[in-house]
């Protein structure tokens, strides 16, 4: 009997080369980090079930599910608005994977596992906004897109979910992008090209910011 190994491979495994890319200056203007191995569940409220869903979310996460384009952080998950009557639950370590969540929302929502359908990329650095302005039509000015703002939008004609996480301790803004897995390699190259002039620091991590 053959020995099978079931290694999960990121769609960016080939495209992502850890290290510096593009212009070499004193410090990289853009930091690109792929965050691997997460659970991502799409929660869609059923007809007339807003109140029940809210109750279930409150019970599960201690907060209401976002009803407007926001990302809400709780200690072990982030709830990201993704459209009317729906949000994404981002977590790791399996606590909010499809099975436990299906039980929690069984009366109020339909759930779809998107853990493998997306790639999560975090963009930060002094030139993060300049680089994102080449990809996104959204206004990411600090006043227009404060911490906790989320958007379902497009980059390069491809749907993404974008939200602003908590700033780094040094005050740098952090933008998180969930992109579709089969587009990820292509979008990654587009992001590298957009960021190259500022100098890029590339890495990957398993920690959710």
């Amino acid at each position: 009997m053959a020995e099978f190994s079931w290694i999960a491979r990121s769609p960016l495994e080939h495209a992502l080369v850890v290290g510096a890319h593009g212009a070499r200056g004193t410090e990289a203007g853009v930091w690109l980090t792929e965050i691997r191995n997460f659970d991502l569940i799409q929660v869609m409220a059923r007809r007339g079930k807003t109140a029940e869903l809210a109750k279930a979310a409150q019970a599960r996460f201690g907060v209401a599910a976002p009803e407007t384009p926001k990302a809400v952080r709780v200690p072990d998950a982030t709830l990201i608005w993704s459209g009317p009557d729906q949000f994404l639950v981002l977590s790791n370590a399996g606590k909010h994977a499809i099975e436990p969540l299906s039980q929690a929302f069984s009366q109020s929502a339909s759930l779809s596992d998107q853990s493998h359908a997306r790639v999560l990329i975090s963009v930060s650095g002094e030139k993060a906004r300049s680089m994102l302005a080449k990809l996104s039509s959204l206004d990411l000015h600090p006043a227009a897109f404060p911490v906790g703002t989320a958007a379902a939008t497009s980059v390069d004609h491809t749907s993404i979910n974008l939200w602003r996480g908590n700033d780094w301790p040094d005050g740098q803004a952090v933008f998180n992008l969930l992109v579709f897995a089969t587009f990820a390699g292509s979008l990654w190259h587009t992001m590298l090209d957009a960021a190259a002039e500022y100098g890029v620091d590339i890495r990957h991590s398993e920690e959710l910011a």
């Binding site: 009997m1 053959a2 099978f4 190994s5 079931w6 290694i7 999960a8 491979r9 990121s10 769609p11 495994e13 080939h14 593009g22 212009a23 799409q42 869609m44 059923r46 007809r47 007339g48 729906q86 929502a109 339909s110 759930l111 779809s112 596992d113 998107q114 853990s115 493998h116 359908a117 997306r118 300049s130 302005a133 080449k134 996104s136 039509s137 959204l138 206004d139 000015h141 227009a144 390069d156 004609h157 491809t158 579709f180 897995a181 089969t182 587009f183 390699g185 292509s186 979008l187 190259h189 587009t190 090209d193 957009a194 190259a196 002039e197």
Partner: protein
């Protein structure tokens, strides 16, 4: 240091950096210039007057303006792959090593043989080409057009790919300001101080607009000081972006603006990792257009002689660049502003030959200046220029009262007044209005959110420009919701502006209106005589204003002459429609990142990298790259590889990545009811754990898409679509859910990227699966019958879904795992399948097997076929409503003579079929009358050892066994073929059910 060659460089003054000398080449000859020069100013400083040859008559041309309105001084800039034709010398910044060449001359600029065209000038009038090259028609492409293209035309394209990069970016602001002259800077001050987010775009590399050449006193400071103080104040504001080398070129709906930033055009090549140009899409709540005004020429004979220059341009060269276009200058003006050139020239130590002023009254101050400097002031207008490629020599003047005069000069400055730059404000089909006191069109309203200020709004006094700009900036900020204290506006005096209209002075010789397209006053007269009086007709008949400069210096003069000829006023004659872009924008900038391999996003399947390791040949299908076949060493062509793959599947086992299929989770209590309405067949009755093939129609009754849908739980279906329609079907289903059937409780999510899905096919499929699936799972025909669908565990614990469906006609399963395990799955399948000779196969083998089995695909689902045409009519439920049901019953869609899917095989087994070939009854002549359909799909069938195909053939099902002709006029191939059942392989389906 003034280099020895810079014969026309002034000893002092100018905004050039004399400590930074630059060398450059024009037409192969070396010259010197300084940092801060444009190519035009550097050529002037070197005494170069002849820059190019004109478009049609090959007349010698010099530099007319000092800005982006330049119609004459167009050059090929740079060399090799970076060669850029039709570049304005007046805006090209000088850099060390710059190379430029004149255009439209042969063999050289000074000895242009094509100048012979001038001798034929009388026949090259407007409409010449329309009238002359009509007959014989076939001569147009073969003879006339190539000859005309050689003779006329502009620069040469590089002919090779542009090596530089371009990109596009978005920007957002409260107030966008076009132009950094006094009005623009004042607007930026007011808006910025009010707390607005401001973007200020300046076309030039230096800020200040006309202040750079004309100077003046603002807030008791010399203009240059005021500019730097203002820029410093602006830079200190928190939310202002100041962009030079950036032209606002278009206004689009909803407050979106287009701007082109020439990021690195001022360098020989962009620094590494940087772009050459960037296209900005700017979203602004308000926009202040402070784009200034363009000085207009006066139309008189010889007005295109090198050395004839706009008066404002001449003083720009003198004051800003310390370059003297001429040493003895005459001025032809109809307004007071032209006299500034006299003042500037005198201050620089240049001689004034004469001022010819068309106004009845010249101010006492100007007369005193003339008396002091010792030059005559002649009342009248210039009506001829003597000179040639070496420049102006003598000027002929028609004096008021009828007498004539002549003046010797080597340069003629011309001012016919100023036209506010009304392009941007007129882009949404706006029509500017005529203002009599300045004899010019001014904005009459503007696109929503936009306002004009300063010279762009017809205000020509410095004080007025500052006041208008400041007020516009403050108002724009206010209406964008920013109400900080704007402070006090900058203050300056207003100069008096007086003007007497003067458009065209009669005289002998060609008098040019549109320099770039060689349109003369007599062309306009001809157009009027021939009835092309409307400005839109005038434009198209004469090509007035249709060159790359879009008539910035010529349109108003042209329509003023037409107005005179037709006896109408200028406002009655009106303007043509203004359309973006305001300046030419490189296609590369519009494309940005999207070229070559980045032309569109690329999607990769979960097994892509593994397939690449195997040496797979990939094919682009939509955005996807799919493995087409997996060549092995020694195989001579694709057919051999594909044949091997098919045989391996039919005799053993193979697998194929089918992750590209669209996959949609359909959830909710009404999921079944929902699917019943979108598919022609019934899904609410499907048992949990079963799959069913489904067909969707468009509402017009034509087949839309097909695929297999499985019921994974009472309230959860897993729907698949074709690869091509994945996105569209999702959109369609969302429309059905949100718009057509809002009462249903159903939720949709795309899971296309969540699952890596593989088809495993062939008689040994079960053997392979048993290696990889947990032994506890029952894969027997009883435990997992045909069309079964359920979740299973794999050895090692990974969860997977198995679907017992077959596209190949073999015993087959589709297996799906979460996408990140897709790579591991293929590797494990290869490992587990080694004893069975498992063979990966690509889309070609997939296609061969589906044709052998008679399954329809894209070529048959072609947007014209019905379910019945595809042989699937019986699937249509009669017990329920579904999308397309009523329209599918229309007479023409159920007509008995429709073209339906049949199988096709050549009667001679050695013949090759071609898809696209027409079906013609035997013994009939090929042609539309006898056309009965066409071959949709073909393949070489390894199983039947001959070419086979599917086709759409009139009454095909009743004609099984009939011999017809396939006619392929493109390849010249005609064969006899037999119409047969489309199911070539295992017609009773025993293999896939076994």
């Amino acid at each position: 240091m003034v280099g020895p060659a810079q014969t026309h460089r002034l000893e002092s003054g100018g905004l050039i950096d004399r400590a930074a000398p630059l060398s450059f080449r024009f037409d192969g000859k070396s010259f010197a210039g300084f940092q801060g020069d444009t190519l035009a100013s550097a050529l002037i400083a070197n005494g170069v007057k002849l820059i190019g040859r004109s478009f049609k008559y090959h007349r010698p041309r010099g530099i007319l303006t000092a800005g982006s309105e330049e119609p004459n001084a167009l050059v090929e800039l740079r060399s090799g792959a970076r060669r850029e034709p039709n570049t304005k010398a007046t805006t090209a910044e000088l850099y060390d090593g710059l190379e430029a060449a004149s255009q439209n001359r042969w063999p050289s600029l000074r000895h242009d043989l094509m100048a012979v065209n001038q001798l034929f000038a009388p026949i090259f009038v407007a409409g010449f080409y329309y009238k002359t090259f009509m007959w014989p028609a076939k001569f147009w492409e073969a003879v006339y057009e190539p000859a005309i293209r050689r003779a006329a035309g502009l620069g040469r394209a590089a002919g090779v790919a542009d090596p530089d990069h371009y990109d596009k970016a978005w920007a957002h602001c409260d107030v966008l300001i076009a132009g950094s002259g006094p009005a623009g800077l004042a607007a930026a001050l007011a808006a910025g101080r009010s707390g607005a987010r401001v973007i200020l775009c300046e076309e030039d590399f230096a800020f200040g607009g006309r202040l750079l050449a004309d100077g003046g006193t603002i807030d008791s400071l010399p203009a240059a000081e005021w500019i730097s103080r203002t820029l410093a104040e602006l830079a200190a504001l928190p939310d202002i972006r100041i962009m030079n080398r950036t032209t606002l070129f278009g206004v689009y709906d909803g407050g979106t603006y287009g701007a082109i930033e020439r990021v690195n055009d001022h360098l020989p090549s962009p620094p590494e990792h940087q772009v050459r140009q960037r296209l900005w899409r700017i979203v602004a709540r308000r926009c202040v257009v402070a784009a200034g005004a363009i000085e207009r020429p006066i139309v008189f004979a010889g007005n295109d002689t090198p050395g004839v220059m706009m008066a404002s341009a001449m003083r720009t060269y003198v004051a800003r660049y310390a370059a003297a276009p001429a040493k003895r200058i005459a001025l032809s003006t109809n307004n007071a502003d032209g006299w500034r050139t006299v003042e500037t020239a005198l201050a620089a130590g240049l001689q004034i030959a004469a001022v010819v002023d068309a106004r009845p009254d010249v101010s006492a101050a100007h007369r005193a200046l003339a008396a002091k400097a010792g030059f005559p002031v002649l009342s009248g207008s210039v009506n001829g220029v003597e000179g040639g490629k070496a420049g102006v020599r003598k000027i002929a003047i028609s004096l008021t009262g009828g007498a004539r005069a002549e003046v010797e000069a080597d340069g003629l400055a011309v001012s016919g007044g100023w036209n506010p730059a009304v392009g941007l404000t007129s882009y949404h089909r706006g029509r500017p209005k005529w203002q009599d006191d300045i004899a010019a069109f001014v904005p009459d309203g503007a696109p929503p959110g936009m306002m004009a200020a300063g010279a762009a709004n017809g205000a020509f006094g410095l004080g007025d420009c500052l006041r208008q700009g400041f007020a516009a900036g403050a108002a724009a900020a206010q209406s964008a919701g920013r109400s900080g204290n704007a402070g006090t506006p900058p203050v300056a005096d207003d100069e008096a502006f007086s003007l007497t209209s003067l458009w065209h002075v009669a005289g002998k010789g060609k008098a040019f209106v549109d320099y770039q397209h060689d349109v003369t006053a007599s062309d306009i007269e001809l157009a009027q005589r021939e009835g092309f009086e409307s400005v839109e007709h005038l434009k198209r008949y004469t090509t007035l204003g249709m060159a790359t400069d879009q008539g910035k210096t010529s349109n108003v003069a042209g329509l003023a002459i037409m107005a005179t000829l037709s006896g109408k006023s200028i406002p009655e004659t009106g303007t043509t429609i203004y359309r973006p872009p305001y300046v030419p924008v490189a296609i590369g900038a519009f494309a940005g990142h999207h070229r070559d391999e980045n032309f569109h996003a690329t999607r990769l399947t979960p097994s892509h990298h593994w397939a690449a390791e195997q040496g797979a040949v990939f094919v682009d299908t939509g955005l996807w790259k799919r493995a087409q076949w997996y060549p092995r060493a020694g195989e001579k062509d694709w057919l051999e590889s594909v044949t091997r793959e098919v045989k391996a599947v039919r005799s053993g086992v193979g697998f194929c990545d089918v992750s590209t299929l669209g996959k949609i989770d359909v959830h909710g209590p009404d999921a079944g009811a929902f699917l019943d309405r979108v598919y022609i067949n019934t899904f609410s009755s499907l048992a949990v754990g079963k799959a069913r093939y489904g067909l969707m129609l468009r509402e017009d009754g034509i087949v839309y898409d097909d695929g297999t849908t499985s019921r994974l739980a009472e309230d959860h279906y897993f729907l698949t679509t074709t690869t091509a329609k994945a996105g569209l079907v999702m959109q369609h289903l969302e429309f059905c859910r949100q718009v057509l059937f809002p009462e249903l409780d159903v939720q949709l999510t795309s899971v296309s990227d969540q699952w890596a899905q593989f088809s495993i096919a062939g008689p040994r499929t079960r053997d392979l699966l048993r290696e990889i699936v947990d032994p506890a799972e029952d894969l027997s025909n009883e435990g997992f019958p045909f069309m079964g669908a359920r979740e299973v565990s794999l050895r090692g614990g990974t969860r997977a879904r198995l679907f017992r469906i077959s596209f190949s006609g073999e015993m087959a399963f589709e297996i799906s795992v979460p996408a990140r395990y897709g790579d591991a799955l293929v590797r494990n399948l290869m490992l587990a399948g080694k004893p069975f000779g498992v063979t990966p196969y690509g889309t070609e083998a997939l296609g061969v097997m589906r044709i052998e089995k008679g399954h329809v695909a894209g070529p048959e689902l072609n947007g014209t076929t019905t379910a019945a045409d595809l042989g699937l009519g019986k699937m249509m439920s009669t017990k329920k409503d579904f999308i397309g049901r009523v329209m599918a019953g229309r007479e023409a869609l159920v007509a008995p003579d429709r073209q339906v899917v049949v199988g096709i095989k050549p009667t001679d087994k050695a013949s090759r079929l071609r898809s696209g070939a027409h079906i013609i009854p035997k013994d009939k002549t090929p042609g539309p009358d006898n056309d009965q359909g066409y071959v949709t799909s073909v393949c070489f069938s390894p199983t039947l050892d001959q070419w086979i195909g599917l086709g759409l053939v009139e009454c095909g099902r009743e004609r099984i066994g009939e011999i017809v002709h396939t006619h392929d006029p493109l390849r010249g191939e005609d064969y006899d073929v037999e119409l047969c059942s489309p199911v070539f392989y295992d017609p009773d389906g025993g293999r896939q059910r076994g």
